[in-house]
Each structure stands twice: as structure tokens, then as C-alpha cells.
């Protein structure tokens, strides 16, 4: 499972990367330090949509910080959810601020969840459930089985393919 981790804090990116890697090899992490770089990984440049390059890196889930300079996590979420080719990718927000208004506004435009930092092991466990909900890729290269066929506690050694996570 490819997780695009978007956070301008190098400390938080490192911790998120470690927590995700500790999950038995389930996640491949692609870290980026800005919303703009996240859009590049997703095959979008600001304001443009180049269909042939959309999600070439096969991102399965986006985990993004809310407060970032230039382009906030909210802006990133909005851009992803407004794009017909990307909107099915689950986007999970995170912030050190536990602000009900911010949480509600993010969920209102399609965020799967909102984690209050510091990012913890139980948050990783929740991420697994959101990533498992991702529909089959149109290009059909990653997901060979419908989600309900995959047993809950399947070992990743037995999976034909361990998805990769891009952490920006």
C-alpha cells in the first residue's frame, strides 16, 4: 500500500515514516514536504490536470498535515476530491490542533479521518481500514482481489504484491 505522507515538518515525516514501516511491510511510504509536491506525485500540477500522468505512482492513500505554508492540507484535500481521477483516493488529515471546526470542515469535503498529532500506532491501524476501502484501480495493476476476499488478518508475506507508499 502506497502512502503519500505530506508534512512540512521533517520530524513528523520521519516519525510517520517509521510508524508506517513498522506495520509488517504493509506500507510503502513516499514522503513530501509540501502540498505542491504532493500534487506533483499525484500527477497534477497546480490548476492543471494531465490525464495521462494522473497517479502514475499509484498512491493508495494520502496522509497529510493540515497546517502547511503555501498550500494547506485542506487545499490539497479539496484539489484531490475535485479531481474525477483522484477523488477515490482516501485522504486522511492530521494536525496538532484538535479543532472541531477544522475537523468538521475537512470531513465535510471528503476527508476519511482526522488524526490529532503526535501520530500514533493506533492511527496506523486505522489507516489500514481506509486503504482497504480503496476501489479497484482502473488500470488494474495493483489490486487483484476485491477487498472482501482478503482475510482481515492476512499476512503480508502471502500477498502477491506489497503496495508501495510514496512519502513526500
Amino acid at each position: 500500500m502506497r502512502v503519500l505522507v505530506v508534512d512540512d515538518s521533517p520530524v513528523d515525516r520521519k516519525i510517520a515514516e517509521m510508524l508506517l514501516k513498522k506495520n509488517g511491510g504493509m506500507f510503502e511510504v513516499i514522503p513530501v514536504d509540501s502540498g505542491i509536491k504532493a500534487l506533483e506525485v499525484l500527477g497534477l500540477n497546480e490548476g492543471k490536470s494531465e490525464r495521462t500522468h494522473i497517479n502514475e505512482q499509484k498512491i493508495d492513500i494520502v496522509l497529510t498535515d493540515y497546517f502547511m505554508p503555501h498550500m494547506t492540507g485542506y487545499d490539497l484535500l479539496k484539489t484531490v476530491k475535485e479531481n474525477s481521477n483522484l477523488r477515490s483516493i482516501p485522504v486522511v488529515m492530521m494536525s496538532s490542533e484538535n479543532d472541531p471546526e477544522i475537523i468538521s470542515s475537512c470531513k465535510g469535503i471528503g476527508a476519511e479521518d482526522f488524526f490529532v498529532k503526535p501520530f500514533k500506532l493506533k492511527d496506523v491501524q486505522r489507516l489500514r481500514t481506509y486503504a482497504a476501502k480503496t476501489p479497484m484501480c482502473k488500470h488494474g495493476t495493483k489490486r487483484k482481489l476485491p477487498v472482501d476476499v482478503i482475510p482481515e488478518n492476512s499476512s503480508y508475506e502471502s500477498c502477491p504484491r506489497v503496495p508501495k507508499v510514496a512519502v513526500a
Partner: protein
């Protein structure tokens, strides 16, 4: 120095850091993530924290000493410092950042400068403590021992 003594010194010192509020449980969480495949994880994360924090402190000093202070910018930097200090468990630094953000909201330059002095002070204190902790770890390993777990 004998391994047992070093290990006891390490545990006593680490215990003090928690009792005096320099570190909180988040630091322990980071230590629990460290393993043979990432034996330097805590050191790497803390090093990133040091680099990031010093940049932020310099930037805060520059911004607060302008004639017209951009309090939004100050707040953004303090928010980042608060976040990263919370992420590594640097509790006292984080707590000063909370007060600092209140001063930003009030657009109180004097208050902000006071908070900057406090946060700088707390940052260098915890930096010193952590460097001592890591030095003790290195001494234990160099003597052939293993670093005792604090949980």
C-alpha cells in the same frame, strides 16, 4: 566505568528528565519504535528536531525584531515548533509554545519576545539534556553493554 554503573547512571538521569518535565511519554513512544533495523532512529529524529528548532528560533528572532511584526508568520513558526517538540516529547518546550501562541493572538510584541527568550532557554536546556543522554548511551555501548529500557 563499569557497565552496571553506567546503566544505573543512565536510568537515574533519564528518570530525572521525566520527573522534571523535560520529556514526556511521547519520547518513550519513539524509543519503543527503535529496533535493530533502525538502531539510531531516536537520535535521527532528535537531530532533525535540533536542526529544525534552531532554524525556527532564528527566524522567530528575525521576525519579532522587525519594526512591523508579522504576527501571523510568528504564529506559524511557533505552531511548527510546538508540533515538533510535542512529536519528540519535549514537554517544556511545547508548553512555552502554547503561551507563545497566545501572545501572537494578542499581537503582543513584548509578550512574544519574552516567550521567545523562555522557549530558547527551554530548548537549549532540553538539547543539553538529550545530548547527555545520548552520550551515556554511547558510553554503555562502547563498554560492551546494552542500553536499559525505561519502560
Amino acid at each position: 566505568m563499569e557497565i552496571g554503573n553506567l546503566q544505573r547512571r543512565y536510568l537515574d538521569f533519564a528518570s530525572t528528565l521525566f520527573h522534571e518535565g523535560f520529556l514526556d511519554n511521547q519520547f518513550t513512544q519513539l524509543q519503543q519504535l527503535q529496533d535493530e533495523s533502525s538502531p539510531e532512529f531516536v537520535l535521527e529524529v532528535v537531530t532533525l528536531f535540533f536542526e529544525d528548532s534552531e532554524k525556527l528560533l532564528d527566524e522567530l528572532s528575525r521576525t519579532l525584531n522587525q519594526q512591523a511584526v508579522d504576527f501571523k508568520k510568528v504564529d506559524a513558526h511557533v505552531h511548527q515548533l510546538k508540533g515538533s517538540s510535542a512529536s519528540i516529547g519535549a514537554q517544556r518546550v511545547k508548553n512555552v509554545c502554547v503561551a507563545f501562541r497566545n501572545c501572537c493572538e494578542e499581537m503582543n510584541q513584548e509578550g512574544c519576545l519574552r516567550c521567545l527568550r523562555q522557549v530558547r532557554n527551554e530548548y537549549f536546556l532540553v538539547k543539553n539534556k538529550l545530548e547527555t543522554l545520548f552520550a551515556l548511551e554511547q558510553q554503555i555501548v562502547a563498554a560492551g553493554g546494552s542500553v536499559p529500557m525505561m519502560w
